[in-house]
């Protein structure tokens, strides 16, 4: 795991920090000199209309994109491939590897990235798959599972890397309504029982209210309002937040 190097602009509690980050696609500025930080162990939810830059933040952290300006620090270190090993991501479309059985989906990276032995990786994977309620599906292929089951495998796969930060990108949006609850229950458990830092993009306002320590409202590439979920959902100050919340409810 990455060793922590203290950094003067980062306080001990800050795990993720965006400094004046700008991202453009062609003429469109998706993130506009964005500053924000997430403290160690906190669960932060990003809400806002589509196209407001929420998913871009996750993709920047995953190094699937690079910022045009500004910088991103994780644990005080500039984001690079080594630092990224401490970040896990769960995708809207699950993105399990269809050519591998469930168990190998979860052991693949621990073996080939962290250098775990096969036995260690299998033991870790079995524990996690048990935790997400799929201990009996180790030998299934992803296509044999329901969407909800696939997403729970994807959560186990991300956790098998023991990330310090877990990114959740609209993880229930592609699911049939009756399957959403199972996935959210698993995430709630993880949020309660671990000290993992979570950064979520979601349209599930109840879930956001439930697990978040802080909610950030995005609009046009900037954070326009931020605070504990009770205040953002109960008494939003900004006009755009009020409009957005009444639209999604």
């Amino acid at each position: 795991m990455a060793t922590e190097i203290p950094h003067q602009t980062t306080s001990d509690a800050e795990l993720v920090r965006f400094e004046q980050v700008t991202k453009r696609f062609g003429d469109t500025t998706v993130l506009d000199r964005l500053d924000f930080s997430v403290e160690q162990g906190k669960h932060v939810t990003l809400i806002g209309p589509s196209g407001s830059g929420k998913t871009t933040i996750l993709r920047l952290l995953m190094t699937l994109l690079t910022p045009d300006e500004g910088r991103i620090l994780v644990g005080g270190r500039p984001l690079d491939k080594e630092v990224r090993k401490g970040i896990g991501m769960v995708f809207q479309q699950f993105n399990l590897f269809p050519n591998m059985r469930v168990l190998r989906n979860v052991t693949e990276a621990p073996v080939h990235v962290l250098g775990l032995s096969k036995d260690e990786a299998v033991e870790r994977a079995k524990g996690l798959l048990e935790m997400v309620g799929l201990g009996d599906k180790l030998d299934a292929y992803p296509t044999q599972l329901s969407g909800g089951q696939q997403q729970r495998v994807a959560i186990a796969r991300a956790l098998a890397m023991r990330p310090r930060v877990l990114l959740l990108d609209e993880v229930t949006s592609a699911l049939d309504p009756e399957l959403v609850a199972g996935v959210l229950d698993v995430l709630r458990d993880i949020a309660r029982s671990t000290d993992i830092t979570m950064l979520c993009v979601t349209h599930e306002m109840n879930f956001a209210r439930d697990i978040s320590d802080r909610v950030l409202m995005f609009d046009a590439g900037r954070v326009i309002e931020s605070g504990p979920p009770e205040r953002i959902f109960g008494a939003p100050e900004h006009e755009r937040t009020r409009e957005f919340l009444s639209a999604v409810r």
Binding site: K81, N95, V113
Partner: protein, 217 residues
């Protein structure tokens, strides 16, 4: 025209079957070479530097757009003048493999492009090394969906092997020709050669179609 002579047919059949073995050997080895080289080209098409992409692209286009027979003659008559001498069969296998690798390269390319971007993203999210991403995630999925297309090129190559007769390989056609030259009867050997091709190529193409349906979902 005389009628069909069954006893003569029985007389030439062993030679034709020996020729068939050579034909099958050339097809098998040529396919292995075409599969391997084609994958090399397909990966080179995606190389990060154009100093790899451009030369490989140029060579592949050149080979694809010249006739196989010309390439076989080149390998057979011109290569020995540079000191490289191979047996006719080896020369034929190299010719077939090289020529067909330019087609399989396109097949692989389509297969690789068909792997959803989410698979690359998931591999990145797990920090899988690039090499491992290719060998464990991308290629298994890409190759699975192009197996029928590769199989169809094997059939096409099989039907192109008679060209090897032109560079003295004793394949089925060459055997038939020699039998005919000896007895002045070409009807039986040439007809049997045609039938043997159909007998192998048609069931194989049915198999590929079935495979295509099975892998299609």
């Amino acid at each position: 025209m005389r009628t069909w002579d069954w006893s003569y047919t029985g007389h030439v059949l062993p030679d034709l079957l020996r020729g068939l073995l050579v034909t099958l050997e050339a097809t098998a080895l040529g396919s292995v070479l075409a599969f391997a080289l084609g994958l090399v080209w397909a990966l080179a098409f995606r190389a990060p530097t154009r100093w790899v992409r451009w030369p490989v692209g140029a060579v592949v286009e050149f080979v694809r757009n010249t006739p196989l027979l010309v390439q076989l003659f080149f390998l057979f008559y011109v290569l020995p003048t540079t000191g490289l001498t191979f047996s006719p069969l080896t020369t034929g296998v190299i010719g077939l493999g090289l020529h067909y690798s330019t087609y399989t390269a396109e097949v692989y390319r389509a297969g690789i492009d068909g792997v959803p971007p989410g698979q690359w993203e998931a591999a990145t999210a797990l920090s899988l090394p690039r090499r491992r991403t290719w060998t464990a995630v991308i290629l298994p999925q890409a190759i699975r969906r192009v197996v029928p297309a590769l199989g169809n090129y094997v059939i096409a190559m099989f039907k192109d092997t008679p060209m090897l007769a032109a560079i003295t390989v004793l394949d089925m056609l060459k055997q038939a020709e020699e039998a005919g030259a000896e007895s002045f009867r070409y009807t039986e050997p040439i007809t049997v050669v045609g039938l043997l091709f159909v007998l192998i190529a048609y069931p194989t193409s049915l198999l590929m179609r079935a495979l295509e349906r099975r892998l299609g979902n």
